[in-house]
Symmetry: C2
Subunit: 285 residues, 2 copies
Amino acid sequence: MTRTQQIEYFTEERSVEAVNSRMDQAADARLRTIMASLVSHLHAFAKDVELTTAEWGAAIDFLTRTGQMCDDKRQEFILLSDTLGFSMLVDAINHRRPSGATENTVLGPFHVEGAPIYPMGTNISLDGKGESCLFMGRVLDLDGKPVQGAKIDVWCDNADGYYDVQQPGIQPQWNNRGIFVTGKDGTYSFRGIRPVSYPIPDDGPVGQMLAALGRHPNRPAHMHFMVSAEGFETVITHTFVNDDEWLASDAVFGVKASLLARMEPGEKHDTKWKSNFDFILNRVG
Amino acid sequence: MTRTQQIEYFTEERSVEAVNSRMDQAADARLRTIMASLVSHLHAFAKDVELTTAEWGAAIDFLTRTGQMCDDKRQEFILLSDTLGFSMLVDAINHRRPSGATENTVLGPFHVEGAPIYPMGTNISLDGKGESCLFMGRVLDLDGKPVQGAKIDVWCDNADGYYDVQQPGIQPQWNNRGIFVTGKDGTYSFRGIRPVSYPIPDDGPVGQMLAALGRHPNRPAHMHFMVSAEGFETVITHTFVNDDEWLASDAVFGVKASLLARMEPGEKHDTKWKSNFDFILNRVG
């Protein structure tokens, strides 16, 4: 049996090598790189904590229930990624920008393509709920010059903490959504409501995990922005109401210091609140 | 805003600290330890490979499909754990034994409680298929003394590569399963078939992953054994046919050098094959 005697079988000590030595035939070198790193880190995790068989079983059960919670409206694995800071990390790795450029944050599950394009100043709140707020500011390049033709796609929850797509038939379609395009001066403005904080869906495995970790499911109040313009890197981000109680403990780790937007009293006879925020785009190509 | 200025928000550099600093309120200290290690290794993985947003999306999709493949007969997450060597690693961590004691390997998904208890020598192959084989040997302690009253629970696939529970109505119930109890001399023997290799279920996400990695789904031929006796640590293991073509590349990394069992010609007028293997139990308590 000289053939089998030369084989290196699986051992605890060399578990990573045993698995990763099997990937030589992978057609895609990038897949091999990713899987080899994943195996290395997964095994290191099990060794670090000396994972018990019962704990392994609990993990299998948790992952299974997480997958089975998913349907066309609910993505529990993205929630898991979000609540472990993994989504924000991937976002950060993929959107490193020069100092001064507006930072990205997670897209979240509630963006919808094809929102109405409105003239500047339009009120996007269609359900009459909430405290009125004027959102305004400029889209600039890193030299401080106005960006013309920038498309500003915005969306937020209503005053009850739900997006329109979470309440079809209850909220008007396109409630608190709209697209605005800048002119020569790069300025933008639209009316809506002061955003309110809300919990991520916590009636599934991820909610159970958060509870077990002593974490709450809340996100601080924010307005979503996707700002794109020819020749510039698209920015997907939020602005956060700067005195929200959940800023320091956003369930999905989306808050960055540079994205806090001061909520100030609005002008007499107009909106109750006013939020001024400039977007600084990074030129590409 | 002195309050918010003191907050440490999420950054790529300190992503692990941002997440793990939120677990102080976990009721279970062990859960906190496990999750902190998991977050640390998961983030290190994303940073090592600079995971792209598209790759992250593919991973979310893969995990979702893996969960949705699971039902009461199919556990795709265990298959995933098995094929990444994770199940064998957890098994190894939890079953470290003194040198000389029979090593564990994975239980697998096909053990069934309550198999018939037979007298030594009984033939457990009930479907008349396959090449006959006598399994025999001794159950000993680490001093080489026979262990009386050891329960030997055995199971294997039939000659077509399927366990009885995979083919209800096609195979007889309890085909290739049985329990034997040792007497004073610690010996055991039963008749069955020479085990054949078979593929793990590869019509799901795990099969797709193996194909992308250039790996086959096959397990080398093996007989499952669970050997338990009062005062000894239970051994869950397989013996592997020592000249199987898949020994060096078992899809679930279950093979250990100490578990190879020589397949020899059987005695005239009895079985075609004979496989002799001693189980050495580790005393506990």
